[in-house]
């Protein structure tokens, strides 16, 4: 399996869950290195730091990041650059409650 094929599989299979996703205390959604897909829908995206060989790791907004050494918490203030992705109306949908 090529790296790209593996990435596709992670992406497509990872999106499907049997149980309803829960948002962990420390999730990729809260990390500055998470890049959410804007072509898709289901909280899917990739990590811009962690790689397998050359390819980035596919992660989801609710991926548990509690053991991740690269976790870099996003600035949750409303700034000109980061507010959009986690708009206040959107946060409750993802259980991203305000601190």
């Amino acid at each position: 399996m090529t790296d790209w094929e593996s990435m596709r599989q992670q992406w497509l299979q990872g999106a499907i869950t049997k149980g309803r996703r829960e948002m962990p205390e420390k999730a990729c959604a809260m990390c500055s290195n998470f890049r959410q897909s804007s072509a898709s829908a289901a909280g899917d995206g990739i990590c811009s730091v962690i790689k397998h060989d050359e390819q980035n790791r596919v992660v989801f907004d609710n991926t548990d990041a509690s053991d991740c050494g690269q976790f870099l918490e996003m600035d949750r203030m409303r700034t000109d650059t980061s507010e959009f992705m986690w708009d206040p109306e959107f946060r409750p949908q993802r259980q991203l409650h305000e601190k």
Partner: protein
């Protein structure tokens, strides 16, 4: 009585608070219907409180799909949809005269589980729209997800293309949208439907099937006649679903009659309900003969098609097709008054505004406040070139000011012979702050349609907006059945990739082709060539996906209902996605105008003035300009588009010409080219986090330019004429399919008769310069800031985003700020 209600109309007009003016002016019926709307457009990216998922459509569709396993996929889809039309709960709203609703209750949004597993999972995990009892409904949704996820269209399409390309698409940094036929824009052929009605079309299908049976049932078929087996299946599936649509409409007829005869006590309303019963019994089975019938016919078809698919645009030309019925009823026979026509038309707009479904996150983000780019086309010319404006044009414009919905919006086809009374109506809509109609230059766009897609003149004159911008004839061979939005590139990424050898800085991975280490570029031409290579790669990647999706759609994702509404499909016995129309493809270019400004800044500051070197520039960009503020300001101050400065404008023009050249090198499934169409919807905000720092001085996260040929916010410093002169340097026929120009004008300056004359002079200049589009915001900053502070007081304040309008209060703060930041142009009086 509130303070607002006590104010006189004159005071309200003087203050420019037109949303309150509308509330005073509209009829009681329209006021009720307007206030009874459940908004389905997302606010920010979430649905409004109270909006809930409707499971009826998904369950009825799935039940019938499962029950007909022996049938072909298209027949299973037809029977599944027919089961929805036969059984979904219907209702009639108080005061309503136009029937047909997407969903079984007014506050609901439907779900198409057969399209995309990612959408299904998004829904399952949504915390706001799951209806009560939540646990019970979640279990139902999970069961539907498990059934559809492995067999939905998305699962099939994603396996069609190389994994590298689908992964790159899914990251969302090079493009937008998905190559799925059920998420597309379908231009419809109204002359066919209005001429025959669905019963007439069914009669044509019967005749075709009888002839086919002669070929294959009554003798041993020749090899080339075997294709009739498949055609028969196509025709049968069309017939199944067209008959179901007629039955669905007649369910409304029965319901209206039952309410009228058994429950309604108000004699006037009883009469209305009986009229509704007559109308719904007749259309869309038979051709319409009166205005209420034609509007009802139109609405039934549009809703029915959205039960079949997520049609994200609403191509139509309502004044052209409904105008004759208005004329007959109001002007000739006098069966209804102008005011009654306004009521019907206003409700027609409201019914459209209420349409919504559970929609992809990407669409909720980039189409904030609305559910689709529903741009209705008005004005223009007839097939013989005469002015097509009529009293229905004026009626639509007047009704829009009364109901002030953000969707649909209008685009007006301007030509030199437009009658003056209609121009005044157009101006009133703009002056009253609707943000629409946008102005389209009809002679330019007719020629453009002939240039790119070889439509004959009379058919090119029948063009409608296929989505926000692209002109598409609504004729038998001109209608494009769907345009998949994923042929959309984030063009500024090509500049980023050219400067970093194809490396994506936001994702931290190699994305584009290797075009060399930019710090070693010794000439501007090397940079330009690298940019062109990257841009061509982006266009090719997305076009490949779209061509594959389009070609396979008739097998993977057939649309029997839409197919049955096209004359060519009925004649040929093919699915709507079979590429036998003349073609109308285009590649949308988001974030395009940063390209020329960026390249021009490098050309000047690095290769001509030699103030900086390429290694310095690459280092500064790599650092997102952090620590290089003085240098960044030099790049911000470099010549910018929109000031009639030939130095930078010619860089832009060359880029346009290069792209146009490549457009002819790549073909769509009909054999036609893929011309560029620069515009942005709200993606100029959402893509801010996708595009790395650029040499125009932009940092990661700064919003992008808002239009397709608009200058950057605050970069146009020499007034509106200079903007027009810059924009006119682009060849609006040969270099683009269309392009989008945003302008802000001062409401104070355009008050009264003088204001109209000033604006009209501007429009004539704009048209003479051969520019294809312009749209206006005419709301002052004081009002916008007040609405930010107290949104509950400004529910109907509308602004133009880029290709669509939205209620200002439905936008997120950042998008609101970009509207406020746009430069207000002062027109010469």
């Amino acid at each position: 009585m509130s303070a607002v209600e006590m104010r006189s109309i004159e005071d309200i007009e003087k203050s420019g608070q037109w949303w309150w003016w509308a509330e005073h002016k509209r009829s009681q019926r329209l006021d009720y219907l307007r206030k009874a709307i459940w908004k389905k457009g997302a606010k920010g990216s979430g649905y409004n409180p109270g909006v809930k998922l409707d499971l009826e459509r998904a369950l009825l569709f799935t039940d019938a799909f499962k029950a007909n396993e022996a049938d072909s996929l298209r027949m299973r889809y037809a029977k599944a949809l027919a089961n929805v039309f036969d059984n979904i709960t219907i209702f009639i709203q108080d005061n309503a005269q136009i029937m047909g609703y997407l969903g079984s209750r007014p506050h609901t949004i439907i779900w198409h589980p057969e399209i995309l597993f990612l959408l299904n999972e998004d829904l399952y995990n949504d915390r706001t729209v799951i209806p009560d009892p939540e646990d019970e409904n979640l279990a139902i949704i999970r069961e539907l997800c498990d059934y559809w996820n492995p067999i939905c269209t998305g699962a099939k399409v994603f396996n069609l293309v190389p994994p590298e390309e689908i992964v790159k698409l899914l990251t969302g940094v090079i493009g937008w949208g998905l190559p799925i036929a059920r998420i597309g824009y379908a231009t419809k052929q109204w002359d066919y439907m209005f001429r025959l009605g669905l019963e007439g079309i069914i009669a044509e299908i019967d005749a075709q099937m009888a002839e086919a049976e002669e070929h294959i049932y009554n003798k041993v078929p020749e090899p080339d006649e075997l294709r009739y087996y498949e055609k028969l299946d196509v025709w049968q599936s069309m017939k199944v679903i067209l008959e179901a649509v007629i039955r669905w409409a007649r369910r409304y007829s029965r319901l209206a009659r039952i309410i009228a005869e058994d429950f309604e006590t108000d004699p006037k309303r009883k009469e209305e309900l009986l009229r509704i019963a007559e109308v719904c019994e007749k259309v869309p089975g038979k051709p319409p003969e009166h205005l209420q019938e034609s509007l009802q016919f139109d609405h039934f078809i549009q809703i029915a098609c959205r039960y079949e698919a997520c049609e994200g645009a609403w191509p139509c030309r309502p004044d052209y097709w409904h105008g004759p019925f208005y004329d007959k009823d109001v002007n000739i026979e006098g069966t209804i008054t102008h005011e009654e026509a306004i009521d019907l038309t206003g409700e027609f707009l409201i019914r459209c505004y209420e349409v919504g479904w559970f929609w992809l996150m990407l669409a909720r983000d980039t189409l904030q406040g609305i559910t689709g780019t529903w741009v209705w086309t008005l004005g223009g010319v007839n097939e013989d070139g005469t002015d097509a404006c009529n009293d229905m044009t004026d009626c639509m414009l007047e009704a829009a000011r009364m109901v002030r919905v953000a969707n649909p919006t209008f685009a007006f086809r301007y030509h030199p012979a437009v009658r003056m009374k209609t121009m005044r109506q157009v101006f009133e809509c703009i002056r009253q702050g609707l943000g629409y109609p946008s102005m389209r230059n009809d002679p330019v766009l007719i020629t453009n349609a002939m240039h790119w897609h070889k439509h004959p003149l009379n058919e090119a004159r029948r063009w409608v907006h296929q989505a926000c911008m692209s002109p598409c004839p609504d004729t038998k061979l001109g209608c494009q059945p769907f345009r998949m939005a994923n042929a959309t590139i984030i063009a500024a990424k090509a500049v980023e990739y050219a400067l970093f050898d194809g490396y994506d800085n936001t994702l931290q991975m190699q994305f584009g082709p290797h075009t060399g280490d930019a710090s070693k570029f010794a000439s501007y031409e090397e940079l330009h060539d690298a940019w062109y290579t990257q841009l061509k790669w982006m266009m090719d990647t997305l076009v490949k996906l779209t061509n594959g999706g389009r070609y396979m759609a008739e097998h993977l994702d057939p649309r029997p209902l839409l197919s049955g509404l096209y004359e060519r499909c009925v004649e040929e016995g093919v699915d709507s996605s079979h590429p036998s129309e003349r073609g109308n493809s285009w590649v949308t270019f988001f974030a395009w105008m940063e390209t020329g400004d960026s390249l021009a800044a490098v050309k000047k500051l690095v290769f001509e003035d030699k103030k900086y070197t390429m290694p310095q520039l690459v280092e500064a960009l790599q650092a997102n300009w952090e620590g290089f503020e003085e240098m960044r300001m030099d790049f911000v101050r470099a010549p910018k588009w929109g000031n009639d400065d030939d130095y930078v404008d010619q860089v832009h023009v060359r880029c346009h010409q290069d792209v146009a050249k490549h457009s002819w090198e790549i073909k769509d499934p009909t054999g036609n080219p893929w011309p560029p169409l620069p515009e942005n919807i709200a993606a100029y905000v959402t893509n801010a986090t996708k595009v790395w720092a650029l040499p125009n001085g932009r940092r990661l996260g700064d919003t992008l330019y808002d239009g397709g040929c608009s200058p950057g916010a605050g970069m146009d410093k020499k007034g509106p004429t200079a903007v027009l002169r810059s924009v006119a340097k682009i060849d609006h026929i040969g270099d683009v399919r269309a392009t989008l120009l945003n302008q802000r004008l001062s409401p104070q300056q355009l008050a009264g008769e003088k204001g109209f004359n000033v604006w009209y002079s501007y429009i004539k200049t704009w048209a003479d310069l051969g520019i294809d589009h312009v749209q206006f915001n005419m709301v002052d900053n004081e009002t916008l800031k007040a609405a930010q502070k107290e949104p509950e007081k400004y529910p109907e304040l509308i602004v133009r985003i880029a290709g669509y309008s939205a209620h200002f209060v439905d936008l997120n703060k950042k998008t609101q700020d970009t509207i406020i930041a746009r430069h207000v142009q002062e027109l010469g009086g």
